[in-house]
Symmetry: C2
Subunit: 426 residues, 2 copies
């Protein structure tokens, strides 16, 4: 009745899963829809920036040599022969002692080599002709933004695998990406198991609780960058669970089940993996919560057997499923970033296994601090609402006290990590 399972260290479990990671296909989408998607191709400059020598100010384009002798005592007078707004190009070429009124962003007229800011010149009108006067000299190139000084044509500006932000969208627009090549979202199926589960719209009944895992995991799938496919909620019945898993496999890239992975009499996932002929990568991880988290593989397709306990389910997703999704999306940093923080409150429980404590980060005078939120009983969900991090306490350690340095995984951060674990983490 009681199966003996060998717990795998968390880092090894993640590495085991990553052996089955794959990279998804590409698709072209409108730039308007591209926020939060992942670039499938490097973003390359199709032209230099600035594309032409231009004025960064409102003022006058001049020939610097005409100003060589200018001073307060000896102001120089230049004839204003044209006026150009941004987007226009002057048809005139500057000759000796001529200037062109120029607006911010406009192309430098032929013959000019410097810009005088509007504030530094005086404009006068003499019998229908406009002149500007200058009381100082300018050097060649003064106040000119030169072609290509920001970016050379052909430069790689953003690497594929990067999540698209508003700043990246500015670049995509600048370089003419009306259509953006992004990674297709992997489809992640979700099946909840458990006879105790009611639907969210159902009234509570004795012994029953509402299914929260499917909704939570659906949102985690979206946050990770994938597309969820909710495949239903099943009672603890071997045959119906087996059929559901079997028939879901060809509809999705990855399949998540919640519940049924423990060693209880109604935990049918181990039996289902056996019936499917799936290769079980591991069925126990040396971590709390979520030690029963199981991952199996069939024909290269991963089946994530997450715990039915909401906190364990949450942690299992972020540690194991998120990096698989991000790798599919070509991210080079698919794992959660781990940083050092100062513990704000005592956490005195010993940690036989590596423990993930839901935490809230705070920044105080240049330091990163982390507080455990809620009681962290493995069956409470309330603390998940507040958590933005997982305080990670190594297995085999005793309690921690406020002020201790701890390792923290950042859930909301997009920097990520190329390794599943910080070097510093024991």
């Amino acid at each position: 009745m009681l199966e003996k399972r060998k717990p795998l260290p968390v880092k090894l479990a993640i590495e085991e899963v990553m052996k089955y990671s794959t990279i998804g296909e590409c698709e072209k989408i409108s730039i308007h829809d591209s926020i939060d998607r992942f670039l499938a191709e490097d973003l390359v400059a199709d032209h230099p920036v600035p594309p032409f020598d231009r004025s960064p100010y409102d003022g006058f384009a001049i020939r610097s040599k005409d100003t060589k002798l200018a001073s307060a005592e000896n102001p120089v007078e230049l004839e204003v022969i044209d006026e150009i707004g941004a987007g226009s190009v002057s048809e005139h070429s500057l000759s000796e002692n001529q200037a062109v009124r120029i607006m911010t962003g406009a192309q430098m007229p032929s013959g000019s080599d410097a810009v005088v800011m509007l504030e530094l010149s005086k404009v006068i009108n003499k019998s229908g002709t406009t002149y500007m006067t200058l009381k100082r000299s300018f050097k060649e190139g003064d106040n000119v933004s030169f072609r290509g000084e920001d970016t050379q044509e052909g430069s790689v500006l953003v690497k594929k695998g990067t999540k698209i932000t508003p700043g990246i969208i500015a670049l995509l627009a600048t370089f003419g990406y009306e259509l953006v090549t992004v990674s297709k979202k992997p489809k992640v199926g979700i099946i909840a198991t458990g006879s105790e589960l009611l639907d969210v719209g159902e009234q509570l009944a004795p012994g029953k609780i509402r299914n929260s895992n499917s909704y939570m995991v659906e949102a985690q799938v979206k946050r990770s960058g994938a597309e969820p496919l909710y495949l239903g909620k099943l009672p603890d019945d071997l045959e119906s669970c087996f059929q559901a898993v079997k028939h879901s496999l060809d509809k999705v890239d990855y399949l998540i089940t919640t519940g049924g992975v423990s060693v209880g009499d109604f935990d049918y996932l181990p039996e289902i993996y056996k019936k499917l002929g799936a290769n079980v990568l591991f069925n126990k991880i040396a971590m709390r919560p979520g030690s029963v988290t199981t991952v199996a593989e069939i024909d290269g397709k991963l089946l994530f057997g997450l715990s039915g306990n909401p906190s364990a389910c949450y942690v299992g997703f972020e540690l194991l499923v998120r990096p698989i999704v991000r790798h599919f999306l070509r991210s080079k940093r698919p794992h959660l970033q781990m940083v050092k923080a100062e513990l704000e409150k005592d956490f005195l429980k010993p940690n036989p296994f590596t423990r993930f404590v839901r935490g809230k980060l705070e920044f105080s005078d240049g330091k990163v601090k982390a507080s455990p939120v809620g009681l962290d009983k493995s069956n409470v969900v309330t603390s998940l609402a507040e958590a933005d991090s997982l305080i990670t306490l190594p297995g085999g350690t005793r309690g921690y006290q406020a002020g201790d340095k701890v390792d923290v995984l950042l859930i909301d951060d997009q920097t990520g990590s190329d390794k599943p674990w910080a070097e510093s983490f024991k």
Copy 2:
């Protein structure tokens, strides 16, 4: 020709805008669509958690008093009279020396008051009857999760105005929120002005650049939680710009224009505000980039005149528009969070005005560090792609050196701030 403008300190400019903040209406949406929306009502527990006394482990529900004398030398033997999975309720009540096999999450049977974990008991079978033996005593309440010990019925678990995360969705599901009451997204109109602007799909031409601001701002609008409405790109022509602004006003909650707010001859926004009879809150802010950022108001509706320079436009949005959107969505912390960080590289330019330097955060050994990204010339866009923060250097300061403590606004963080500025910021 040259208008004199009085620059307003950044903090005062933000406070001036916030005087016109309003709160949006509510709408009910499916829990499936609720991620990243903002709660318009407090999330309240509709039942205690756990909803009944339950077992947190797989094991046996027992009466503690039957185990009082149990020890290694004197094991106690209890008859197993029933087996209950999660979701089932036992019809039996425990009498003396009886136990019920119970699964994780199942309701405690009547008469039981403690749970023995499966690993701590031995099961034997004697002529068709199952017994379990115990070698230690248990106290009343051992290994029982009591009704309401996590959450009392009626508790407020998450405050309105909070952005909905996967963890909050777990709570919404647990407490039966099949429909979630969220704040309606404000509609933010976007008009780009500038004769130099090409559409993203157009070929470059002399003197022209592609319009990147509209796409960037559209994405910033989405990231802030609002709904963008792109209203087109206009040449620098007073009458057509005036008509476009005028006719857009009743289609949106807020209107953003980019460009045309400077003091150049083709900067028509000041004239448009005058023609509309709008109240200009300010037309100069003591900041770089974006000093020409202008905000006006007509019949309580805000018109944001952001700079046509992409970096200035980006900063103006995050400082002025984002908090207005978040306040509309009922956030109590609508502003960007400002934290202290250690500057990683020299930034030697003096800062006549408050300067916002695009930065990238790094966490190193428990400390927050910030590096300026790109050259930070006010006309470059490439650095926007990398930035996740704005290093904020007070006006009137000289250059900063690596190692100096600086204030940093976090762009990607969701914690936010109730004040537009940190106390520490001069």
